[in-house]
């Protein structure tokens, strides 16, 4: 297990850094060109308030474990969960889909300059500042280290009504969109540390 300050130190020290979670998407990682930041060692529930329908978790926490904790209070996530036992919640955030994005309320991240930053929060309605917490869903670990995430939950009784469409992501690679995404990458990671 590791602490937030250790993660920060690793970001500070590394020239290039590859962030990994439960390693369910990649088979082998070449560590020749970059350091590896293994977020699966940053685990646990930080706060869980069933009466608020809100949970705040460390990114390396296994989704399976979270689902069990929520089930004890008859609650659940409102997005489809990976069937792989090793999948982490941070990995799901980094891979991103619109249903997960809908449920995100706030994040604590470490950017490329090793600043610890918070966006969004633990409340359902929050329009202070741009919605960075939802923007970074799908960022593939290439803009910032996602350390902690707050999610809106639903009672299990409502989960059966969810119409979760199979995730057919639309490929968008217009020049304009790529320019914007590259611009945003440089905002969070000016030295292109995260690869």
């Amino acid at each position: 297990m590791i602490q937030l300050k250790q993660i920060r130190q690793q970001v500070l020290n590394a020239k290039k850094l590859t962030i990994i979670g439960g390693k369910t998407q990649v088979q082998t990682i070449s560590a020749t060109e970059s350091d590896i930041l293994d977020m699966s060692k940053y685990q646990g529930v930080i706060e869980y308030h069933p009466e608020e329908l809100v949970i705040t978790v460390k990114a390396g926490t296994k989704i399976k474990q979270l689902a069990e904790i929520l089930a004890q209070k008859s609650q659940s996530f409102s997005f489809p969960l990976s069937a792989n036992d090793n999948s982490t919640i941070g990995g799901a955030y980094a891979a991103g889909n619109s249903d997960l994005r809908d449920a995100v309320l706030g994040i604590k991240i470490i950017d490329g300059k090793a600043n610890i930053l918070n966006f969004g929060g633990q409340v359902m309605k929050n329009v202070a500042g741009y919605d960075v917490a939802r923007l970074l869903v799908g960022s593939q670990g290439k803009l910032a280290v996602i350390c902690e995430i707050s999610f809106k939950l639903i009672p299990q009784s409502y989960a059966k009504d969810l119409k979760l469409a199979p995730c057919n992501k639309k490929q968008q690679n217009s020049k304009l969109r790529m320019r914007i995404e590259q611009g945003l990458k440089s905002v969070f990671d000016p030295k292109h540390k995260f690869i």
Binding site: S98, D102, A128, L135
Partner: protein
């Protein structure tokens, strides 16, 4: 920049009647729903199609003239207030509902379409658009996206960001960009929701439509103290019920609303809870029974027996603002959000502040999602009272931040809450927000000076950051 030259150029390129200049014609655009900020622009342009919007953008960019995009001007944070040297780009003439897909339940609309018009247009198919800000009869869908508007029903059905499938927008360079919920990559559509006109100009919105619930019923419960009412809110959610609406009012708001709307509210109650349940007949029946059991500490309970009664119960709540407006020459509406478990505590602190500032306050809450709307009563004609009301308001927002909440739940930052932003965000985070704007709008021509305070401004406020080291609730993880 020569102001006359820009106005001249706009008038030359666009049909004359679409360009408004001069004191008289631009006056209606000098403020939005928050009228303490007023400023006349160089000109107001009211385009009728996308090509005209592109022309306005090109002219303004060429002259480095700021553009303040405006919907219906119903916003409550000064987000649509013109700048002295700006053009107002009013999109209220773009009111076409372009298409409705009944089977897949979505509608494609122009940005100037009013929120309620969408629901009205699709009612015959048994569908509606869920987010319902109080201004829904007037506010536009483009403005809703810009503010990520909420409303009474967002507890169950989500905010604007959850109900928009895609948008088309123009960048400051006049380039068209389509953003969809399911785009691969970063959440750019989510970023545009609530970006307050600082990143782009929305030209088309595709919204999700929902089937109208078979039945909706409201439970109205009075309580002898605020804490019991706040506890009831938590207990309903913990019991696994998400009401379609869960609203709370304090005694002052109850009395004001009852005088105004005569909805049959219990005047002697210290707090009132309105809980709407919707769905199939069967589901509503089951939840209704559960909620009534949970409300065992209520001093009075009434359940709407028909649609007419349901609407009457809501009428009091929905007219709370004008009702309070009758009791005072002016009022100032706040919009903080807090974790619900602090409801009773925060309300008590607001009452203490009310005594300290000697200004009355009426509280109406979207209790289900912790969004507070304290209405501070004041009289602008008494010298110094506006400032006193603003100071009171700022204190309330600080309390919201201190318990782990936020300075704005649904009204936006605009011009109004720039100082409060300094309290919620450290410099490093504000800097990121500024840089995000620069990616879209390097010369800062789109609604500049709104939504995110300059670091300089926050530094001048100075003392505000000191609190971060000595929070009233150090045990709370701060997000």
């Amino acid at each position: 920049m020569n102001p006359m030259q820009i106005v001249q150029e706009l008038s030359n390129k666009l049909p004359k009647q679409l360009v408004l200049t001069g004191d008289q014609l631009t006056r209606p655009f000098e403020c939005d729903g928050l009228n303490i900020f007023r400023q006349k622009p160089l000109a107001v342009v009211l385009p009728e199609n996308i090509e005209q919007i592109k022309q306005v953008i090109a002219i303004c960019k060429n002259h480095k003239t700021p553009i303040v995009t405006r919907g219906a001007g119903t916003g409550l944070s000064g987000g649509a207030v013109p700048l002295e040297n700006s053009i107002v780009l009013g999109l209220s003439k773009l009111t076409k509902i372009k298409s409705v897909n009944i089977e897949q339940q979505y509608a494609v609309v122009e940005p100037g379409v009013r929120n309620i018009s969408i629901s009205e247009a699709v009612a015959k198919f048994g569908l509606y658009y869920a987010p319902d800000p109080s201004s829904q009869i007037a506010c536009t869908i483009g403005g809703n996206v810009a503010e990520n508007s909420g409303g009474v029903h967002c507890l169950k059905y989500g905010l604007t960001v959850h109900n928009v499938i895609s948008i088309k927008m123009l960048t400051i360079d006049g380039e068209e960009l389509t953003l969809h919920r399911d785009d691969q990559g970063l959440g750019l559509l989510a970023l545009m929701n609530g970006s307050e006109g600082l990143l782009g100009i929305i030209t088309e919105v595709t919204v999700k439509l929902l089937p109208k619930p078979e039945l909706a019923q409201v439970i109205m419960a009075g309580f002898n103290n605020v804490k019991d009412c706040a506890d009831a809110v938590a207990n309903i959610i913990t019991a696994g019920i998400i009401p379609a609406g869960l609203e709370m009012m304090d005694s002052f708001a109850i009395e004001a609303a009852e005088d105004f709307a005569k909805a049959g509210y219990p005047r002697q109650a210290k707090a009132l809870l309105l809980c709407e349940l919707d769905g199939s007949q069967q589901a509503v029946k089951i939840e209704l029974e559960k909620v009534q059991q949970i409300l065992n500490k209520a001093s009075s309970i009434q359940v709407s027996q028909n649609e007419q009664q349901r609407l009457i119960f809501w009428k009091g709540r929905k007219s709370a603002f004008p009702a309070v407006g009758r009791l005072s020459p002016d009022y100032y509406c706040m919009d903080g959000t807090i974790p619900k478990r602090y409801l009773a505590e925060v309300l008590e602190k607001i009452n203490q502040l009310s005594n300290k500032y000697e200004l009355r306050v009426a509280n109406v809450f979207h209790a289900g999602d912790g969004n507070l709307h304290p209405l501070i009563l004041y009289n602008a004609s008494i010298e110094g009272e506006i400032e006193k009301a603003e100071e009171f308001g700022t204190d309330i927002l600080k309390i919201c931040v201190d318990v782990g909440g936020t300075i704005t739940g649904e009204h936006g930052v605009g011009l109004e809450k720039l100082d409060a932003m300094c309290y919620q965000f450290p410099a490093e985070e504000l800097d990121i927000l500024h840089q995000i704007k620069a990616v879209f709008d390097a010369e800062s021509l789109l609604n500049p000076g709104k939504a995110v305070p300059t670091l300089h401004r926050c530094a001048e406020l100075g003392a505000m950051h000191v609190h971060k080291g000595e929070l009233p609730h150090p045990e709370l993880e701060r997000f």
